[in-house]
């Protein structure tokens, strides 16, 4: 039995407009990893991929698949799922072997499981004390909102690029009204920015820094090194990149 400290918990009912119209209750917990032994327990539990979950504590891969499928079917796999779990109350008739995709994201169940393992290993190795807050989790956008977010980003980024690409001033680029609006979109836009950075490297470093309050790039790094550094940062944070 895992001994998890639960500083926060909440629940939320989701009603999905899918073919099966499944309703389920999602219970999300955050917890602290306090000792190496507990890390081992968690990893061991997670790797029991055939586990059937009836209780409230499970790292069964099928639940993670289901959560991803149900929550959006289109959502980038977020880091927090490695430490959260759900209690299904509705019928679970989702094909766990299905693959799902959206504009930016395509992943099979096996890759997802592999990702979960990496997330947990990374958490254990880095001695993460606490995962994202439950409020952060609940603030994540639903699929339709995410699509709108992508469209809004595209609209703002296109105009920003058009109006600043001939300028040399980094300050004028990064204080352009459209650039600031993208920053104001908050953490939800980070995967979209990273995807854009991967496809077409541009001046997104300041935006990523402002939104995440992190700076993984050493001073003196080249532009290419900064691009790679931020993409690696994104991978460590659990953002899928195709």
């Amino acid at each position: 039995m895992l001994d998890l400290h639960r500083p926060e918990s909440t629940s939320k009912n989701w009603k999905l407009e899918s073919e099966t119209n499944i309703e389920f209750e999602e219970i999300l917990y955050t917890y602290s990893l306090e000792t190496p032994k507990k890390h081992e327990n968690i990893l061991s539990q997670k790797r029991n991929k055939n586990a059937i979950s009836h209780g409230h504590i499970s790292y069964c891969s099928s639940e993670i698949d289901t959560l991803c499928s149900l929550m959006s079917g289109k959502m980038d796999f977020p880091e927090y799922l490695a430490g959260s779990f759900i209690n299904l109350t509705g019928k679970n008739e989702i094909d766990l072997q299905r693959e799902y995709q959206d504009d930016n994201f395509f992943v099979s169940s096996s890759r997802l499981i592999s990702k979960v393992d990496k997330e947990l290993d990374a958490q254990a190795a880095s001695k993460v004390k606490k995962l994202h807050s439950t409020q952060w989790i609940l603030n994540q956008k639903k699929p339709t909102e995410k699509k709108n977010l992508q469209q809004e980003f595209n609209r703002l980024a296109t105009r920003w690029k058009s109006e600043t690409e001939s300028l040399s001033s980094v300050k004028k680029k990064t204080t352009h009204p459209d650039y600031l609006k993208i920053i104001e979109m908050g953490s939800e836009v980070i995967p979209i920015i990273l995807q854009s950075l991967l496809k077409e490297p541009d001046h997104w470093f300041v935006a990523l820094n402002k939104i995440s309050s992190e700076n993984p790039i050493s001073y003196g790094a080249s532009f290419q090194e900064a691009v790679i550094g931020w993409l690696q940062w994104g991978q460590r944070k659990g953002f899928f990149l195709t």
Binding site: S166, S168, V170, K171, D202, H203, F205, F223, Q224
Partner: protein, 153 residues
């Protein structure tokens, strides 16, 4: 005939009536200031942002003035001079000032007396000095007034 860069001519109309020639494809990896300092790996600008943005001297106050540019390039060995004429034994750089008197662009002199610029995140071009000279508000060029500095070859 060299490739015509319509997107640049629309932004800087002085180009359409003066000499220029494309010398590289567009990239965001460096800007005109870095290019003038022969650094093609990172953009230079006097802002205390994180890497890859670079400035050769400490700049805690986000000073983007001409004095700041002169101080930075003096640190690299350049000295102010009066004009952009070709001078034997020296290489020159030009700092274009916008209508507010703030640096907006830099170019470096080529051995034949022509100039070479990186246009923001767009192409590098070889050009006459006046090809990028003009009022930014009128979409003529990067700036009317140009300050020059030189360094011994």
């Amino acid at each position: 005939m060299s490739e015509q860069l319509i997107h640049l001519e629309l932004r800087y109309s002085s180009l359409s009536s003066n000499y220029y020639k494309k010398t590289s494809n567009r990239t965001s990896e460096y800007n005109c200031v870095a290019y003038s300092a022969d650094d093609l790996d990172r953009p230079w600008w006097p802002v205390p942002y994180q890497a890859p943005y670079y400035w050769p001297i400490e700049n805690k106050e986000e000073d983007e003035s001409l004095d700041e540019f002169i101080e930075a390039f003096s640190f690299l060995g350049f000295a102010c001079c009066n004009d952009g004429n070709l001078e034997k034994g020296f290489r020159k750089i030009a700092i274009f000032l916008d209508e507010d008197g703030m640096p907006a662009h830099m170019a470096k002199q080529l051995p034949d007396g022509n100039w070479s610029s990186k246009c923001g995140d767009l192409e590098d071009i070889e050009h006459a000095l006046q090809s990028l000279q003009g009022k930014p508000s009128a979409k003529e060029g990067y700036g009317d007034i140009i300050k020059f500095m030189k360094i011994a070859n």
